[in-house]
Each structure stands twice: as C-alpha cells, then as structure tokens.
Amino acid sequence: MDNSEISGGRVADVINRAAAVEALMEERGMEPAAAIARGVQSAEEDWVPRNGARIVAKAWTDPEFRQRLLTDGKAAAAELGFSMPAHHRFLVALENTVDLHNVIVCTLCSCTAFTIIGLPPDWYKDLEYRARVVRQSRTVLREMGLDLPQSTQIKVWDTTTDTRYMVIPVQPPETLGWPEEKLVEIVTKDSMIGVSRLPGT
C-alpha cells in the first residue's frame, strides 16, 4: 500500500510490528512469552491433522463410533481426547461417498476446526480460494488436482458460524481391513478439508 498515507511515515516491517506488539504486551504485564511458548507448542504438537486422521480411521473401523461422530462430532472427538475451543460449540463430520463430495471453506475469514484437522494452510485463507470455491467448486477442485466425475455431487460448506466442519474421506478400497493405526497414516489434512481425495477413491 501507499506508505505515505499512513501516519505520514514509512510502514514498519511486519516483523518489527509483531515484535512491537509483543514487547508492549510484556510491558503491560500480559506475559506474552509464556503464551507464545504454549502457542507454538499447541500449533506444532497439539493442533495437528493427525488428530483428525485418528477420528477418521476410527470412524472407518468402528461403525458405532462413526454413528456417534455423525451425530455429535465434538463429543466423538472428545472420546479420543481431542478438545475444541469453547467458542467452537459443534463439530459436523461430513462423510464423502463415491457420489458425494464435501469441501469446506470460510468465505468471510478463515475459520476451521483447527484443533482437529490442524491450522489452515495459506491457500485456504487466501482470497482466491475464498472467492471461487463457493461459486466454481468443480472447476476450482479440478484446478487443484481433484477432477471429480460429473456424477459426483458437490456440497460446499461455508463456515459462517462457530460450528466447525471436517470431511471424512472415502476409505481407499485396498485399505479395507487395515488396522486403525495404519489407517491413521494415510489421512491428510487436505482430504479433511475436502480439496483432495485419498488415492484410489
């Protein structure tokens, strides 16, 4: 942007702006350092797509869990020890089939079930995805490498309330009968957002 229009001076580098906020929060006794340490750990260790992968793998192998997951995703996630922030009051699990494909977006900002499927990648928060996937879902998915047959119906889920979504991808046929621990390894974050399908599905 035009620097001259802001406060009459050159805009500080974003790294310096971030450091300024941190320093002033420290000065005000808000203990940012501890929060950052916790936050970095949460982002790297707690809010990982492996959580969602474990939910998916269990749903594939345990029909009763699958039913509970489809009824109340947040409670089902809690069974496996996964929590969601207080303001995420509901988790909806969206089950893909051969004939139905679900894909998640947040057109107004970038909401996701981040404690379950991991923090969203850049492209999910970027203008292109948010503008286009609601309107040109099939085209956008094809451009992203997922060429769905015309017979597959598409449902796009716009995350406009604090209800959160996760996609249950179709289980690859050759993995039927695999143990849960092995199934966990094949489920990706992108497949739980719904911009890709797992190999062979």
Binding site: A12, A18, A20, G39, A43, D126, V134
Partner: protein, 211 residues
C-alpha cells in the same frame, strides 16, 4: 459491512495458489502473532467476533495485499489500542515506523427476531438488508432462498457480540442453497451450505411484505 473481506462469489481471481499439504507457518513471527491474539482472547480482552471485525475494518488496499498473519497482527494491534492497553504512538515508536491499524467500527445491533424457530425442510429467505457493523451474513446469500436442513447450536449474535452490544444467543441453521440460484450465470452446480443466524432469515412466504 459491505467490505472487501466478503469474498464469496467475487470474480476476477485466478487459480488458487495451492501447494499440497502446505506448511502452516513460514516465518517465526507468524506463529508468535497467532499465539498472541489467542492469548488476548483468553484474557477476555476481546471476543473472536471483535477480532474478526477488526480484520474486516482494515483499509481495503491493505486487506487485499496483506498476508493472513499480517491481518491477524493488524487486528490484534487495533484492538489493543481500542481497549486502551497501548497507544498507537507506543506501537509506532516500538516498531520504528508507521503501524497501519484498522478503521473505527460502526455501531453494533441486537438480535432481530429472537423468538421465531424455523423447521427442517422449511423454505427460507435471507433478509436483503445491509448492516455497517460486523455480520456473518455473506452478501452472496442476501435476498436468496434456501432450505433449512436443520437447526444447529445457538451462538452469540455476531452483529452484537463483536461490538459489545447485549444480545441473546440465538439459534443458527444449516441452510442449503443451490449455487445455480445464487449465481445463475457463472457457477458450477453444487449445494452451498451456509450457517445462518436466525436474525438473518425470514419465512419465504413473507417476501412480498418486504425485506
């Protein structure tokens, strides 16, 4: 508000800048800023709705060109100033340069129709009314008709909650729209599910009586 952030359905954008299984963070400050805004929310300094609205209030040119975590940083800094925790001068002195903040907020509003309940399968019409404050009604469904799939949980009303206005938590609905109805001339057939607050809806039969 009819802001730049209201991206759904806007045309002219090129391909998604997609990288399979992309990393979440690229630089250290991004993860730190993400932690700091979450910390401020947990401290009760502001709500998630207020956080989102401060992003929406960024100057449009800044919003369009900033990365996601620069938007996060701008929102956090704006709210720290608005809540009286720091001053803009302090921020700029510490940053060693100008620190663009979001523009001031318009007033919030309380719930519109707190007592009506819509039923699964009911045809509903989204109110076609603009509002200058924070709202979670994307403009692409304004004035459009959809079908209630089911009632979902009650949440704080964003148009109030972002502004500190008193309001009841209100039911939300999973409403299904046909993309072909939303954009008759340039869309791929699909069902678009939107989480819609009760205040944004009216029974489809009321259309003739106005918005």
């Amino acid at each position: 508000m009819d802001g730049m952030h209201d991206m759904g359905g806007r045309q002219g954008f090129g391909p998604v800048r997609y990288q399979p299984n992309a990393p979440v963070f690229h630089e250290d400050w991004e993860c730190r800023v993400n932690a700091l805004y979450g910390h401020a929310v947990r401290l009760g300094l502001f709500t998630m709705d207020a956080y989102r609205h401060a992003i929406e209030r960024m100057a449009p040119r800044h919003y369009m060109t900033a990365s996601y975590y620069e938007r996060t940083l701008t929102s956090l800094a704006t709210l720290l100033v608005e809540k009286g925790v720091v001053t803009r001068n302090e921020l700029e002195a510490a940053a060693g340069g100008a620190f663009p903040l979001a523009a001031p907020s318009a007033p919030g509003r309380s719930n519109l129709t707190p007592n009506y309940r819509f039923q699964s399968g009911e045809l509903v019409q989204v109110r076609n009314v603009d509002f200058a404050g924070h709202t979670r009604l994307p403009s692409y469904i304004r004035g459009k008709r959809g079908v209630v799939v089911r009632e979902t949980l009650a949440y704080p009303f964003p148009d109030a909650h972002a502004h500190g206005v008193v309001a009841q938590d209100e039911p939300t609905y999973d409403v299904a729209f046909r993309a072909e109805d939303l954009w008759p001339n340039d869309s791929d057939p699909a069902t678009v599910h939107v989480g819609v607050f009760q205040s944004y809806l009216m029974p489809a039969g009321e259309v003739a009586r106005g918005s």
